[in-house]
């Protein structure tokens, strides 16, 4: 993913009128789209200007689509699908299948397990895998690994490098300089992007915070592309409180700065609602947003919830526009909605063609 820097959405807006839906060859004409997927196996490109689904492509083979990562030039969406056994690249202009990597081979059954990302230079894809050897009369769980593929490897891609990785990683995210691939799991591991060596490790499960138990971190939504900060909510019991005390359970945010590698874990409320995914504001370093049955605005400086509204159904995935003014939500059912980041008022909504559930599909923001 390119560091877009000062090239703001405002500039993009100015040129939109001249860009046809197919006019992606116009370098100046970059504007913001959402990329998401739904069942059975559809990939969608949503135009955030017209609030319409600009394109829908059928991903070949079985569904259901899950994690989505888009190449830095916004041309190709890589999607985990086929019961997590395949990683498929679809050209977002033509719908052509340009990449496919099946995780299983011989007597090894393996999954692309949630965590997957394209590299910053767009040349490689990193995928976390859970191989199992199927013997006659016996299964053998093998060690987990990160497989690295070349994006130009075509439809029968094989890994060019494979390195061991601790189990239970659920998100992979590349550092801004491209040298590190971070894996969020029991710790936040920093893998050397070339050698796979673990160069840094920030414990989460064993974070050692006095009077705190083990945090429960549900992180399956890679939403770092706009702010370059990866965040996920955690829920944690306090060990110094009576179980029925109002502050016996705390909700907080774990944040990883992809520029600096810095990790913070900070509570912001006594647990009162469930939050599935969060996203960091690109314009206000002290503001983050989370969603599930409610949409929550988090003040990270004051450590409080500064606003919260009820949604009309649950949403799994949240993301934010490059100008920081609009929140996008998807996941579950076929609704993708946009809300005002300042007021939390609804702005617009689209229904995905086919009506299928988005499930765990990522909702990514791209400029192309």
């Amino acid at each position: 993913m390119r560091a877009y820097g000062k090239f703001t959405a405002m500039a993009a807006v100015a040129v939109i009128a001249s860009v046809s839906l197919l006019g992606c060859d116009n370098e100046l004409g970059k504007k913001e789209y959402l990329v998401t997927a739904n069942k059975p196996n559809n990939l969608h490109l949503i135009d955030t200007e017209t609030h319409e689904v600009a394109k829908t492509f059928l991903i070949p083979g079985d569904g259901a689509p899950g994690t989505v990562s888009v190449s830095p030039d916004g041309q190709v969406a890589y999607v985990i699908t086929n019961h997590m056994e395949s990683l498929v690249g679809i050209n977002l202009d033509s719908g052509e299948e340009v990449f496919r990597a099946d995780a299983s081979y011989d007597n090894i059954r393996s999954k692309h397990m949630f965590a997957m990302t394209v590299s910053r230079d767009g040349k490689e894809i990193y995928s976390f895998q859970t191989p199992v050897r199927i013997l006659p009369g016996e299964y053998q769980v093998l060690d987990t690994q990160i497989a690295v593929y070349k994006t130009d490897a075509g439809l029968d891609a094989k890994p060019v490098r494979v390195f061991p990785a601790p189990r239970q990683i659920s998100v992979l995210a590349p550092s801004v300089d491209g040298k590190t691939i971070y894996g969020l799991g029991p710790s936040i591991f920093g893998f050397n992007a070339k050698t796979g060596e673990i160069e840094s490790s920030h414990p989460l499960r064993e974070w050692g915070r006095p009077d705190y138990g083990v945090p429960d971190i549900l992180a399956a939504w890679p939403t770092f592309e706009v702010s370059n900060i990866l965040t996920a909510p955690y829920f944690v019991p306090r060990t110094d409180k009576a179980p029925d005390a109002p502050d016996a359970m705390k909700t907080g945010l774990v944040s990883l700065n992809l520029k600096t590698g810095e990790v913070t874990t900070e509570d912001f409320e006594n647990t009162s609602v469930l939050i599935f995914s969060t996203v960091q504001s690109p314009i206000n370093p002290n503001e983050a947003y989370g969603v599930y049955t409610q949409l929550t605005k988090i003040d990270q400086k004051a450590h409080v919830v500064s606003n919260r509204i009820d949604m009309d159904h649950t949403f799994y995935a949240i993301n934010v526009s490059h100008d920081g003014k609009t929140l996008y939500m998807g996941g579950t059912m076929d609704d993708v909605v946009a809300y005002d980041a300042a007021t939390l008022e609804p702005k617009w909504a689209v229904k995905l063609p086919g009506g299928g559930d988005q499930g765990l599909a990522s909702l990514r923001v791209v400029r192309r």
Partner: protein, 533 residues
């Protein structure tokens, strides 16, 4: 996870049932040699061992339901085709040669009996969170295998369900590390393959169940029943049975059925009782003289009844039930004592006078009895001649406590091809006993009483969501019928008809009333219902 296991289990359950029923007549089943089937259907993957036996298969002991599940799973996971008649033969053979002894199933029978809403007592907190969050602990506790085999079971779990270590209560711990090392060691010690209990049981002579039996039980929501069962053998492990039952409300039900007895004691039957199709899961006691368990509707296993049968033995005498089972101070009523070989003087214990004999034969004696107005509440020994029963009858002046059973229940909304799962409640009257304290060992369970039933919102959250209005309705037999499945446009968040309510019972207590309650969660449909939940 590829499998929509739901459909598969329905086939599985019906499959075995059909097996039970067809095997007696089929004849062909007899010609199927289980060793040939194992060779033909299993040995391609489970390699024969030099000393006999097959890899993995010989390292396990299971209940009939456990074997059925494993073999059906071989079909779903590994594409192994086992026709129904061969499945029946294999389940029978493996349960007989690699089964569990009666004592090894103690404490876990509720799961085989498909008793709803049982809260399990799990001996170890880590085991609970590791191995009893997706299915019952009973499923685990009804298997016998050594550490290494338990480890392979863990490999199969994570191998098949790789998201296990990402789920809630999986992702907050080193799930695989614990499942691979700690759990197999613990389970191998708790539930090892080789036990004296099993060796002894396997060697022991098994009882012939044929004969005359006296039967009693209670069907929650309907009431207590007594009656008889005439059992005849059709093969060394197959029986036919005729029932004649009479409920306390006066209704009479007759029926007949057939059963296979696995492992010398596991009675699995299918019967027609009145106009209902039922399944029976009973266990024969080690002495062969009592048969007990639960029967339930073939198409709704949460609806059923407790069942106890005692073999009628020449020259012996037993009291099995007293109806009604409780008598209030100052009240006078007909009381019937059920059993067999009944003969002699009748006593209903201190403070209860018998004024008249209404009827008397060897199986039941009816008397008119009166409890003294100042009678002290508690159990009364009932005796006829020298035959005594100590805990079948009690007297009281006031009920101390009304307990709703079960204290916590789950019901499921219904719709489409999946019928609702109802919840059945019973109001049970208790005395606090001599110490006057509720919940102590000297409490006296008087028995179930009629009650007025209602539901209320369980909590403030339920109040806001108006759960009690949407989840369904309860009738005056304590039967809760859940509402329909799917999103409800009338509800906040368009949520479905799930919710949490308090179930309230109100019963007469002399001139006043006594109340009790239970908690119920109404939730979504369950798509699969394997033989061992």
């Amino acid at each position: 996870m590829k499998l929509g296991a739901g459909a598969c289990w329905k086939i599985a359950v019906l499959g075995l049932t059909a097996g039970w029923l067809t095997t007696p007549e089929a004849g062909t089943a007899q010609e199927l040699d289980p060793r040939n089937i194992l060779e033909e259907r299993c040995s391609s993957c489970h390699t024969p061992r030099a000393g006999g036996g097959l890899e993995r298969i010989s390292d396990n002991r299971k209940t009939p339901e456990g074997w059925e599940m494993t073999i059906v799973r071989m079909g779903i996971w590994h594409g192994v085709e086992v026709p129904e008649d061969e499945l029946a033969v294999l389940v029978r053979h493996l349960s007989n040669t690699q089964g569990l002894a009666p004592a090894e199933t103690a404490g876990q029978r509720f799961i085989l009996e498909r008793q709803p809403n049982v809260v399990e007592n799990i001996p170890n907190a880590e085991l609970n969170v590791m191995c009893a969050r997706c299915h019952s602990f009973a499923r685990v506790a009804l298997q016998r295998q050594d550490e290494d085999e338990w480890r392979k079971q863990s490999h199969a779990h994570l191998g098949q369900y790789p998201t296990t270590e990402y789920q809630s209560l999986g992702r907050d711990r080193d799930w695989w590390g614990i499942a691979r090392d700690k759990m197999p060691k613990l389970l191998g010690e708790m539930f090892p393959l080789k036990t004296d209990t099993w060796d002894d049981w396997r060697k022991s002579a098994k009882a012939d169940i044929s004969g005359s039996w006296r039967v009693h039980g209670e069907r929650p929501g309907v009431g207590r029943y007594v009656g008889s069962a005439e059992i005849t053998a059709t093969d060394w492990d197959e029986y036919e049975v005729t029932y004649a039952l009479r409920y306390a409300n006066g209704s009479e039900v007759t029926g007949q059925g057939a059963a296979i007895v696995y492992t010398g004691f596991e009675w699995r039957g299918s019967a027609t009782l009145g106009d209902e199709e039922v399944r029976e899961v009973f266990a024969l006691s080690e002495d062969g003289n009592s048969l007990s368990g639960r029967w339930f509707l073939a198409n709704a296993d949460e609806v059923g009844a407790h069942f106890n049968a005692v073999r009628v033995r020449e020259g012996a005498s037993t009291i099995i039930a007293v109806e009604p089972q409780m008598l209030r101070a100052g009240e006078s009523t007909n009381i019937t004592i059920h059993g067999f070989g009944l003969k002699g003087n009748v006593s209903l214990g201190d403070g209860v006078t018998i004024s008249e004999f209404v009827t008397a034969d060897a199986n039941s004696i009816t008397v008119v009895a009166t409890a003294a107005t100042d009678i002290e509440g508690g159990n009364r020994s009932v005796s006829i001649g020298s035959t005594i029963a100590t805990d079948l009858f009690s007297v009281y002046s006031q009920i101390d406590r009304l307990v709703v059973e079960p204290p916590f229940a789950i019901a499921r909304v219904g719709g489409g091809t999946t019928p609702a799962v109802v919840a059945q409640f019973t109001a049970v009257a208790y005395l606090n006993g001599p110490d006057g304290e509720a919940g102590t060992n000297d409490d006296v369970r008087l028995g179930s009483v009629p009650a007025e039933w209602s539901i209320e919102n369980f909590s403030e959250e339920a109040e806001q969501m108006e759960d009690a209005k949407y989840v369904g309705t309860i009738d005056q037999n304590g039967t809760f019928m859940p509402a329909g499945a799917g999103p409800n446009p009338e509800r906040k968040y368009k949520t479905n008809n799930a919710g949490r309510v308090t179930v309230k019972a109100n019963a007469a207590n002399g001139e006043s009333q006594i109340a009790g309650d239970a908690e119920m969660v109404v939730t979504v449909q369950r798509w699969n219902s394997p033989p061992i939940l």
